[in-house]
Symmetry: C2
Subunit: 104 residues, 2 copies
């Protein structure tokens, strides 16, 4: 259901170091708010908010409002798409390698 061709978004989301740090921050705590994450990173809260937005549209993170704060959690599934893409590339490549070796 969710999305067919968003491995684009996933790779794009993972491409930024700060964004990966944000993900790790959330993962290590279970959940976190933008302000918490920002205090733990060398960037402003607003920057973190933007990153969280991106991570959200990539489906890697979900927001949940508790009173006046918004806690973010990780959704791991989309990561599978990225890994799947890499695996597929590896498969293609290995197949080629195997075919080459058969010639000798």
């Amino acid at each position: 259901m969710t999305a067919p061709r968003n491995s684009d978004a996933v790779f794009a989301a993972l491409s930024d170091p700060t964004r990966r740090a944000v993900l790790q921050g959330i993962a290590s705590t279970g959940d976190a708010t933008a302000t918490e994450l920002a205090s733990q990173l060398p960037v402003s809260r607003q920057a973190v908010v933007k990153h969280l937005g991106l991570l959200g549209t990539a489906g890697l993170v979900t927001a949940q409002r508790h009173g006046r704060e918004v806690r973010y959690q990780i959704t791991a599934e989309p990561l599978n798409e990225a890994v799947a893409w890499i695996a597929q590339l590896g498969a293609l490549w290995d197949e080629r390698l195997a075919r080459l070796e058969k010639l000798f």
Copy 2:
């Protein structure tokens, strides 16, 4: 040996769709030249060359000169770093999940 902290470069390299297409192009043929790849993609040869340069510094691709043409091949190992990073994130997350579930 090769590299310790270049998972940054790997993720950056994978973040562009055209670049992933280039990788797939090489993988499916075993090896290819920039001109070949460009003819198969909606961008100019120069654009492909740039991408190949990036992929090269990320260690994902190696060049080999044969006379007047340069053929590119894939080096798959750096991909492991990316997958490892993702796996580590998944591990962190799962650990948290498990710890949470223990509370109930």
